[in-house]
């Protein structure tokens, strides 16, 4: 496992290719070829056994026919007439012998499997009809003594004998002739088999695959073969009805045999493996000729594709390395429509997003610095001012001037809120308190012409909002809406939830704005123009930076009626510990 783990992707792909393609192909090829070979051998052997069964039937028929011929002879009284004739009457004997010869001739001529029929009497005389010569003295090549001994041991039943002493495998059926009235032995019947017709039939059964057919006697001596080929028959198992085996170590020929019970012989056939598998071998060669080039082409294609995939991955990896080294904007090019292409595309999107985020944060910080700078430029040292205000408050209280004390305290609260630059969010409640202090001072300035109302959903008092976003708007409302009016002015602040949004409205009943003026103002705020009205623009930018482009301020106004500024922020809970640059 460790070895595989350490491999790079290219080598892993190669390894998987070998595993997934070559291994199954190799296993499948071996499996198919070997099993086809085994199957063909099995079918050939089955076929050979079927053929041997047919031959067995043929031989059994032949044996039964020959036995029937011998039995027919024993039913023939002409036989007994000759064998029981004491030859005292030569004429009678002559007639009897002639009758018997006619019988023998008829039998021989009517049975194609019979070469000769001989009947021997107890004196050794024989009465024979032989197919080719008509009349032949068989004693020259007929193993009379062996046949007589065999026939006697069979007690009248027919018995087969294959002679290798006096001939090259002549086949005989022999049986003792007993007199039917006394059951005494009176002669010997010998039928010599003519194997030529059967041999011709066997020759017809031969083929390229079934090379040879043999007939063996119980001593495994060759009764006959369709070819003069010496065969290794040592492995024939006498106890089995049928069987198969390889002829020798070369495994070139398979031997299939079958035992016949009547007569007690074996039929054997040799199957040429090369002839049998010739078609398979040819098919295999063709398959390899087709497969090997195809495999090479497929391998090249796979390797090429694998390498291309690896190259794409490497491109992504390089891009990632660049990012890790600090480069913000990395654009990689991978021309793929698959998952790797999507990965590269996502990587590019990701670096773009990172760059945007970084720029936004940078800009926000820049904006805040700018605000701070402007605040410093516009104001004297807040701590000095704060301390001075505390001194004034103390003197006012000593001199019994509560209004001054009240104003100074309010101013001091405003100062405290202004210099509390700890970058934390404040609650809406604190922001409103700050506004109230501011209004309180402004009320003194406008000698009671200013009235402040607030209507806030109590559940919104604890929400966290960026610091000092209401004050610039209220200041604007007083300066631009009320400051120039001689009538009593009202400033209403409301805060409510509206479908996932929080709307904070600051509305005054001052001089308002014409449509043209309102559009001009909105243009200024949204397009970030440099102008004096830093308050509204600043608030708008901070809201958009903080909450997103979907949020900010909206202004509604009607000339000589009202001006309403709406802060639209999301109803998003912010925790106390969260740190935001606002």
């Amino acid at each position: 496992m460790g070895f595989y783990k350490r491999l790079n992707i290219r080598n892993k792909l190669l390894f998987m290719f070998i595993l997934q393609m070559l291994l199954p192909v190799a296993v499948l090829s071996v499996f198919l070829l070997r099993n086809v070979e085994n199957s063909m051998k099995s079918q050939a052997l089955t076929l050979s056994q079927d053929m041997l069964k047919i031959l067995e039937l043929r031989i059994t028929d032949f044996a039964d026919d020959t036995k029937s011929v011998s039995q027919d002879l024993l039913y023939d009284l002409e036989v007994y007439d000759v064998l029981n004739d004491d030859q005292s009457d030569k004429l009678t004997f002559y007639n009897n012998v002639n009758n018997l010869k006619n019988v023998l001739r008829t039998l021989t001529l009517s049975n194609k499997d019979i070469q000769a029929v001989s009947i021997f009497d107890l004196k050794g005389n024989n009465y024979t009809y032989e197919l080719s010569n008509g009349r032949l003295d068989l004693m020259e090549y007929l193993p009379y003594d062996t046949l007589l001994a065999l026939a006697r041991s069979a007690e009248g039943r027919p018995v087969w004998h294959v002679d290798f002493e006096k001939s090259q495998g002549n086949i005989y059926l022999t049986r003792i002739i007993n007199d039917i009235d006394t059951f005494n032995e009176v002669g010997l019947l010998v039928i010599q088999v003519n194997m030529a017709p059967m041999k011709n039939e066997y020759a017809n059964l031969q083929s390229e695959i079934f090379e040879e057919i043999y007939l063996l006697d119980p001593d495994k001596q060759l009764v006959f073969s369709s070819e003069d080929h010496v065969m290794n028959t040592e492995l024939i198992n006498f106890s089995e009805r049928s069987g198969v085996f390889y002829e020798d170590e070369s495994k070139e020929r398979m031997i299939s045999y079958r035992k016949i019970s009547n007569p007690d012989w074996y039929i054997v056939t040799a199957i040429s493996k090369s002839a049998l598998l010739d078609e398979v071998n040819r098919f295999t060669t063709i398959a390899f000729v087709i497969f090997i080039p195809l495999a090479i082409i497929l391998s090249l294609f796979t390797i090429f594709e694998g390498l291309h995939m690896v190259a794409s991955i490497n491109t992504i990896v390089s891009g990632m390395e660049e990012v890790s080294q600090g480069k913000k904007k990395v654009n990689i090019h991978v021309d793929r429509g698959d998952e790797i292409g999507y990965l590269a595309e996502s990587f590019n999107d990701m670096t773009t997003e990172i760059e945007n985020l970084v720029e936004n944060i940078y800009e926000e910080q820049l904006t805040r610095k700018e605000v701070e700078l402007k605040a410093l430029q516009a104001q004297i040292n807040p701590h000095f001012l704060y301390n001075t205000l505390e001194t004034i408050n103390w003197h006012a209280q000593l001199k019994g001037a509560p209004e001054i004390s009240h104003m100074v305290t309010a101013l001091s609260s405003i100062m405290e809120a202004t210099i509390g630059r700890d970058n934390k969010l404040i609650s809406l409640r604190d922001e409103l308190k700050y506004i109230e202090n501011y209004i309180s001072i402004m009320t003194y300035r406008y000698e009671g012409r200013l009235k402040f109302n607030k209507k806030v959903d109590p559940s919104l008092l604890n929400i966290k909002i960026p610091r000092l976003i209401l004050q610039p708007i209220v200041e604007n409302a007083i300066n631009h809406g009320i400051g120039q009016s001689a009538t009593k002015s009202e400033i209403n602040v409301t805060a409510e939830k509206d479908n996932g949004h929080i709307l904070i409205e600051i509305c005054d009943n001052g001089k308002g704005m014409s449509r043209v003026e309102l559009d001009k103002l909105m243009d200024k705020i949204n397009n970030n123009h440099e102008n004096k009205s830093i308050g509204l623009e600043n608030v708008n930018r901070r809201l958009k930076l903080f909450y997103g482009e979907d949020y900010g301020i909206r202004i509604y106004s009607e000339e000589n009626v009202f001006t309403k500024v709406v802060l639209d922020i999301p109803e998003k809970r912010l925790n106390e510990g969260d740190i935001y640059y606002v």
């Binding site: 070997r34 039913y75 049986r175 009235d181 085996f245």
Partner: protein, 422 residues
């Protein structure tokens, strides 16, 4: 860990698959052998004379069918033959070691020859070990067979012979039923006068029953069953009977075409009431004979003891020794032999009245009752004479020369001159 397990399992599976492929691809020599292990059927060869037109042939067929249905692993090869060829074929088969496993053969010289040549199995032990089998045969029949301590034969069928007469013809022409040879001759004369053939007879071996019945009445049991004198000459009863045959022939007691008449036509002559008498055996019984028929001993001399030819028919069953000694066949052949001689088989054969069982049970039909009356009336029961004379001589000489003897061209003594050669 999970991935590693999956990989390990996958590699193990691959190795197993490859191992299986290698194993299944090993070079093996196999072949399909369609020789199903069917139940080996044992063939039992059977032979009897109950074949062809024999009245018991169809019943034998029924019995064999029933047996094979009961014993599907035993096949009976029925080689039964009707007529004269049966005996020749049976002997030729035994002579050539090709004898049937179970066979029926009437007692006589041929059976003795087979027994003497140890071709017939001694069943005494197996049959006595099975009382149900042994008791199925009348013990008197076993005794009649007289095979000593051995039991070679299972006598399933008995036969008897006598003179079958058409009673109605005798009554119609007011002829006395003969009780001696003279009365027989008188009846013959009258029947000839009224144009009825007196005795249905022909010159085949089966026609010789009349001659055999004469021998029995003339010689009695001992001389019939021991036909030769100590000097080897034939006893007188065999000669005298031929002279009596000449008397009847000269009286025109037989059909005009007796020399060429076949057995079936001869029988038909009696059945159709064209002939008044016929000498026949129990196998002649059939439903074509009614109560107008009677059965009497052949009338020779009413002062002498009545001797009736009685014996075992061809339903005398045996098992060949070769089958008995063959362990593959012995059991099956014995089962068949037992079935063949069982009550179930007897019930089938008794459907024909030509079959008379050796069972001790009483017969229940008219013809069998006639037979019973005949045998019970006998002073002695005698085996058929042709069982005691060499069969070859009987058929080749005696039957062959009978026409010459009847015509007076050869004397009875001359016929028996050559019997010493057989």
């Amino acid at each position: 860990m999970k991935r590693q397990s999956i990989l390990t399992l996958s590699f193990t599976a691959i190795i197993i698959v490859i191992s299986l492929v290698i194993y299944s691809s090993t070079d093996r020599l196999e072949y399909e052998n369609y020789e199903t292990e069917k139940t080996e059927i044992i063939e039992v060869r059977f032979s009897s004379s109950w074949a062809g037109v024999d009245s018991k042939a169809e019943y034998l067929e029924t019995v064999i069918e029933a047996f094979e249905a009961e014993h599907p692993n035993i096949k009976i090869i029925d080689e039964s033959m009707y007529g004269e060829d049966f005996l020749f074929t049976l002997k030729a088969d035994f002579a050539s070691g090709n004898g049937p496993d179970v066979f029926g053969l009437w007692p006589g010289s041929d059976l003795e020859l087979l027994i003497d040549n140890q071709m017939v199995a001694d069943l005494s032990r197996v049959i006595k070990d099975d009382p149900s089998w042994y008791d199925n045969v009348d013990p008197n029949v076993f005794e009649f067979l007289d095979q000593g301590y051995q039991i070679y034969s299972i006598p399933f069928e008995i036969i008897y012979e006598g003179l079958y007469i058409n009673k109605d013809l005798f009554e119609e022409h007011n002829i006395k039923i003969p009780e001696n040879f003279n009365e027989l001759k008188d009846a013959i004369v009258v029947f000839n006068q009224v144009g009825i053939v007196p005795i249905a007879y022909n010159l085949t071996p089966e026609g010789s029953f009349i001659y055999q019945n004469m021998i029995v009445q003339l010689s009695g049991k001992y001389d019939t069953e021991n036909p030769f004198t100590s000097a080897g000459n034939i006893k007188s009863g065999y000669i005298e009977a031929m002279y009596l045959m000449q008397d009847l022939y000269q009286l025109d007691a037989f059909p005009e075409n007796a020399f060429t008449l076949d057995d079936a036509s001869r029988n038909e002559m009696f059945i159709q009431k064209e002939a008044a008498m016929i000498v026949q055996g129990s196998w002649f019984n059939s439903d074509r004979l009614d109560e107008s028929v009677d059965l009497i001993p052949f009338p020779i001399d009413d002062r002498k003891d009545v001797s009736i030819i009685y014996g075992i028919g061809n339903g005398n069953f045996h098992m060949s020794k070769s089958a008995f000694d063959n362990p593959e066949k012995r059991e099956s052949a014995l089962i068949f032999l037992k079935y063949l001689t069982s009550k179930a088989s007897r019930d089938v054969f008794e459907l024909t009245s030509s079959f008379v069982s050796s069972s001790p049970e009483l017969p229940d039909d008219y013809l069998r009752r006639l037979g019973m009356r005949l045998t019970h009336s006998a002073d002695e029961l005698v085996g058929p004479p042709d069982h005691y004379i060499n069969r070859n001589f009987w058929e080749s000489v005696l039957i062959k020369e009978f026409p010459n003897m009847l015509e007076g061209k050869i004397t009875p003594e001359e016929i028996f001159e050559t019997i010493g050669d057989y």
